[in-house]
């Protein structure tokens, strides 16, 4: 009796709602991921915003609503302003240099044939190395007294001094211990590490350009620079847009390298390498000012959002021609 009763059911469901059956499967597939995004991404983001409106206390019952109080503090916090300026400087150095170097190296890698695979792997290797390990090795190489860079400078200077050409000598540099050089020194490390990612993406983009475009232009008498200017660059524009947006977001959130490269005073001498992300981390987990740290991260989010929207608009406008 029972099997008879059960059998017509699935058949009826199949016939009645083929489309809604598909929708049901879709919702079933999305159930866990959507819960993940809502609970662990969207909700915490809103919570962070909410937290920044209350004076911080470990006990939630004792938190008092104070509106934009922390945001008012942001305006007068000179250390934050320093971090903000540094972060923008990092972004302005890292993004263009990475982009240009990445494109040049990708072009060079495309020009060579022998050992191409090995070259590719070597340029990608720093990207694979943990940021922590990278920061330590570089921090050590930058070291004033024990660093390999200063050792090279000393040997270079001795070499020229012995030959009486003193104007070629270079004094040892303070690198990370000088407020003037620290930020650039850290930026060099970030560029060195992230370059491989840019190269791989550019190589992929260059592979996607049909060779007949170049052949046609060559027949018309176009030279190397003209080919690059009028074919490679315009066709790479979506790839460039992707890389600019992704590496800007990355640079604005810079943390790993900065926190690890200085062993004693994180953020460098006179906060010269401090970034917004590092400042937020220090405020939250060393000073335990969670509410204020939340306000700092909301500020960072707004900055990223505005810059990304401007970039998206810029690139989509440039694409329509």
């Amino acid at each position: 009796m029972q099997p008879r009763l059960e059998q017509p059911r699935p058949r009826r469901r199949l016939r009645l709602t083929l489309a809604s059956r598909e929708a049901l499967w879709a919702y079933a597939f999305l159930l866990i991921p959507l819960a993940f995004y809502l609970v662990l991404r969207i909700y915490p983001a809103i919570q962070s915003l909410w937290l920044s409106l209350f004076s911080w206390h470990v006990d939630p019952a004792q938190r008092e609503f104070q509106g934009l109080g922390y945001y008012r503090d942001l305006l007068t916090d000179s250390k934050l302003h320093r971090a903000l300026l540094n972060t923008l400087l990092y972004t302005l150095i890292i993004v263009p240099v990475q982009l240009i170097l990445g494109l040049v190296i990708a072009q060079l890698l495309n020009a060579v044939t022998v050992l191409r695979g090995l070259f590719r792997a070597i340029y990608f290797a720093p990207y694979v190395t943990p940021a922590v390990a990278v920061a330590w090795v570089w921090g050590w190489m930058y070291s004033v007294n024990f660093g390999v860079f200063n050792n090279m400078l000393i040997e270079w200077s001795i070499f020229w001094e012995e030959r009486g050409i003193t104007w070629l000598t270079i004094d040892p540099q303070p690198f990370l211990s000088s407020p003037d050089q620290a930020l650039v020194s850290v930026a060099v490390v970030v560029i060195w590490q992230q370059l491989g990612f840019q190269v791989i993406i550019f190589l992929a983009g260059l592979q996607g350009i049909p060779s007949m475009f170049y052949e046609a232009a060559k027949i018309d008498g176009a030279g190397g620079w003209a080919l690059f200017r009028h074919i490679t660059l315009p066709l790479l524009r979506p790839v460039i847009a992707f890389l600019v947006i992704i590496s800007t977001i990355y640079a604005l959130q810079l943390f790993d390298q900065v926190v690890n490269i200085n062993f004693t005073d994180q953020g460098g001498p006179v906060s010269s390498t401090l970034t917004i992300a590092l400042y937020m981390y220090q405020e939250a987990f060393f000073s335990f000012r969670f509410g204020y740290a939340a306000a700092v991260t909301v500020l960072l989010f707004v900055i990223i959002l505005v810059i990304t929207l401007i970039q998206l608009r810029f690139f989509s406008r440039r694409l329509e021609y």
């Binding site: 929708a23 390990a133 024990f146 989010f301």
Partner: protein
């Protein structure tokens, strides 16, 4: 079907095709510039690896090659520190998250392209928008949430933020979009259910993308620093990057030990990278051409 597979093999062939060694002056310049670049790219990594073989006295010297090669540093790190435990922790977290990333990102990517349902675009935009939220903004609520639920100092606590990255969903969506719908309709008529379609037909066709996503997920989670640093409280629950970073307090400036730790930390990532190198590039090439 034929169209997509054709472009795929063409791209792969162009990439891997051995070409004649051209001796134009420009090519020689390219080799010289690339060679100089390689010195800069490899010097810090080689310096790190070679220093790991130097003894404590030689470590402050400036010679590139160790005068006397020693394995003492590795022995000390392996037997006298918690490094093996950190290594195991990192491995557990990276393998678990990578598995989750591969399954869920491809499932969501498949659902967003192959299934029609109300609210599809809203779901996609919702997931994409999470890409813009900085990790720093989420870290405090995650920490509060973790202390409420007792996730601090647990594997779940370390791993949960990386389980379904929006980047992966976006990548997989782009790949499933390249597959023809007819193929799935044929199998659907044959009575295969939607999960079977995803598992037996969709997944095998996007294997290069899965390899690329797998390697990026593994690198990302193996190297993850900020969140594991916050959530791991005891020395036994640290991951390799956290353990190495906090090594300074425990080992002082024992550079030889630190470098040995770093050298060992990159081994699994390098193995994963070399195994999947071809697939990564093929994967990225395909997304690149899709634009």
């Amino acid at each position: 079907m034929t169209v997509t597979t054709q472009t795929r093999t063409e791209v792969g062939a162009a990439w891997n095709r051995p070409r004649r060694f051209r001796t134009q002056p420009l090519v020689i310049v390219a080799y010289l510039l690339l060679g100089a670049g390689i010195v800069i790219m490899m010097f810090p990594i080689l310096w790190m690896v070679l220093s790991a073989f130097k003894d404590a006295r030689e470590i402050f010297g400036f010679n590139f090659w160790p005068k006397t090669w020693t394995l003492e540093n590795f022995r000390e790190v392996l037997f006298d520190t918690d490094f093996p435990r950190w290594f195991l922790n990192s491995l557990i977290v990276a393998v678990a998250t990578t598995t989750s990333v591969l399954f869920f990102c491809s499932l969501v990517g498949y659902t967003l392209t192959r299934l029609r349902f109300p609210g599809r675009n809203i779901v996609f935009v919702l997931i994409l928008s999470t890409l813009m939220i900085p990790t720093e903004m989420l870290v405090i609520p995650w920490f509060v949430m973790s202390s409420e639920f007792g996730w601090i100092n647990t594997y779940w606590g370390i791993a949960f933020p990386g389980l379904i990255p929006a980047f992966g969903v976006f990548l997989m969506r782009q790949f499933f979009e390249t597959l023809p719908r007819d193929l799935f309709d044929a199998a659907r008529v044959d009575g295969m259910n939607e999960f079977g379609l995803f598992w037996y037909i969709g997944l095998p066709l996007v294997r290069p993308a899965l390899a690329a996503l797998g390697i990026f997920a593994f690198i990302g989670n193996w190297n993850a620093f900020l969140w594991p640093l916050i959530i791991s409280k005891s020395a036994e629950m640290r991951t390799v990057p956290v353990g190495v970073a906090l090594f300074s307090g425990e080992a002082g400036t024992a550079w030889n030990l630190i470098m040995a730790t770093n050298a060992m930390a990159i081994i699994p990532v390098l193995i994963v990278f070399f195994i999947f190198q071809k697939q990564i590039i093929e994967g990225v090439v395909l997304t690149g051409t899709k634009g």
